[in-house]
Symmetry: none
Subunit: 200 residues, 4 copies
Amino acid sequence: MAVTRPGGRSARVRAEVMAATLRALAEDGYGGLTVDRIADLAGVNKTTIYRRWTDLDGLLTELLADLAARAVPIPDTGDLDLDLHRLAGLIGGVLTDPSIAALVTGLVAAATRSPEAAATLRGFILGRAGAGSVVFTRAAARGDIPADTDPIHAIEALVGPYYLRLLLTGEPLDAALAARTATAVATAARAGAFRPAPSH
Amino acid sequence: MAVTRPGGRSARVRAEVMAATLRALAEDGYGGLTVDRIADLAGVNKTTIYRRWTDLDGLLTELLADLAARAVPIPDTGDLDLDLHRLAGLIGGVLTDPSIAALVTGLVAAATRSPEAAATLRGFILGRAGAGSVVFTRAAARGDIPADTDPIHAIEALVGPYYLRLLLTGEPLDAALAARTATAVATAARAGAFRPAPSH
Amino acid sequence: MAVTRPGGRSARVRAEVMAATLRALAEDGYGGLTVDRIADLAGVNKTTIYRRWTDLDGLLTELLADLAARAVPIPDTGDLDLDLHRLAGLIGGVLTDPSIAALVTGLVAAATRSPEAAATLRGFILGRAGAGSVVFTRAAARGDIPADTDPIHAIEALVGPYYLRLLLTGEPLDAALAARTATAVATAARAGAFRPAPSH
Amino acid sequence: MAVTRPGGRSARVRAEVMAATLRALAEDGYGGLTVDRIADLAGVNKTTIYRRWTDLDGLLTELLADLAARAVPIPDTGDLDLDLHRLAGLIGGVLTDPSIAALVTGLVAAATRSPEAAATLRGFILGRAGAGSVVFTRAAARGDIPADTDPIHAIEALVGPYYLRLLLTGEPLDAALAARTATAVATAARAGAFRPAPSH
DNA sequence: GAATAAACGAGACGGTACGTCGCGTCTTTAC
DNA sequence: GTAAAGACGCGACGTACCGTCTCGTTTATTC
């Protein structure tokens, strides 16, 4: 994706800016995030940042896109309960990183103004959801849950409480949450709650 | 909190400003929200707004507090599944209102900078959760779910997916979501997934 | 011309900015003139300057317009030679002021970009020329020079060498220049060199 | 001054850059003059320009120096009036060229910042004045004007009105100006107005 | 005719100043 | 006595152009 050689000055600058942005996010959060400050932290001039990214939102967008490209190991223990428990723990671990927490929060704000940011955010979440949803696909293949379980819907139920706490209530993303949510989703999945035509 | 009589000029101005803010939020979203614009829409001078609220965030905070004060009818049909289904529908209805959607999104951003905004947001969500959680309390009283079910945790599972979609993926808060989520939570609750000491 | 009351804050700010500009011009000349520096010297914020003047050029333009409004005493001794000598001395005195020298130089540069600046500059010079030209009108009335002498043309001959030195050669605008130029112009005027139809 | 042979690439590039600068000056004037634009017009990279000239002002300085090196035919008709008339016409012709007009104007601005530019400008004007002043030397040799006439002073009187119009009032440098100024200066010179010790 | 030094092309970068936007404060006037 | 009107301080934004730097490529000279 990089138009310049990986070892060149451009690549180095790009990496430094993105690292500095993460650092700034971790320290001050999304509010208090400033292009000048990022430039300072990166040891780079402000104009350089504007030459490469249209916007602060653009920078955050690319940062998240970078994050999205990173592969996450999806648990595969042969047991849905255990898989979900571990998956929930992974999610909690990632979102506990202050940089990432601030980055996600920032993109929620950025999505208010920029469709690109909104698209990236959506893409990130859905991409992760898609990756994680294989635990349901596998469980269905094993016959642990109904074959017509919608894995994306099921993942929403697992992830929803995490973002609720991260973005709104500020409560901890701890092991208790992981345990409870994993159990709830596994139970519901087994009972067929995530089949396309819900029983009512 | 209001120091003036409800019918006076002050009260009228206050109402007009808050209405104008909601209108501006609905039209332009949180980005593109401007104090001058609100003042224009309200037919009021900017100074007047600052006399009454410390901040733009303060205004939003109070707006949300107002919203929180509005009573919501908590369903009480005697059936947990039905109660949850209706409750989910209510939540979806409220968050579908563009003003409220923008307001919540905006406060997520504001919470980045202002602890007051964060506290208000947290209070709003937890307040609503507390109100809604009585459906679990009643179900427990009826013996439909374990007596030691944590109602707040259960509500989190119901509400989480809604905010996930509102803030992150942008997918619709429709009837299908209500049905699925209600069923899942009811199932999990009956199975004891929201008891304090999760089975493991 | 001021739209605000003379004693108000606006008027005070305006005066301080213009004084600061003159000071900055005197110290650093037109090169090295900066809006930020003017703002600092004036104890005023940069935005305030931009609110009131479109441009640095605009500020200089108004400064010169102010200068143009100031009346200059035109000598009237009854003797053309003496009048011109004194007039030349006055011109030299004004243009020796470093602020004014820098201001004129700056407007020459500004006129490159801004038609307004060009018009103001032209207006200033022609206005001054018009005022000074009465010495020729009076001399003509006395019969000292031909009745059809063009006073503006004659003034150009007096003033030209001053701006030549000010803007181009940097040589001093001293008494010797005054004496020589006054004598030359007076001589030429008496000989009818500034009559519309030149003898050839 | 050129370190390379006249036919080489360097010489070609140098010529193209200087021509492009003149073209850019003629089109946009001194304001709106950009190194990038010159480079584009010259079909040359910006770096090349900076390799050869320290500065934009430096380029202009050299451009004017080039101009100054060009010989101008000084009229020598045996008649002071006629010589001056023709000389004035030549001056008017040169300064009417938009490139040269913009160049001179630009250097007035550049002289504000750069002493080199100021020196070049001064050198150019004084050089030209020196060359032109021979008409007075010759006239003095013929006995047409006093032997102790200061030729430089006399030339100032001739040239002054031209730059006054060029830089300040913008009025035309036409034949009428030439006629009038030539006559005036000739008259004054014959009357001894440009002798070192002015009569007073 | 290859080797080698000099100049050029391309493009990112540091830096200064610019001019703008929106927030929140303050003063002055009017109702 | 409260609100309108509007200027102001302030911080950050995003831009323009300057002059510098690096790296590869071309050109011209030299052996």
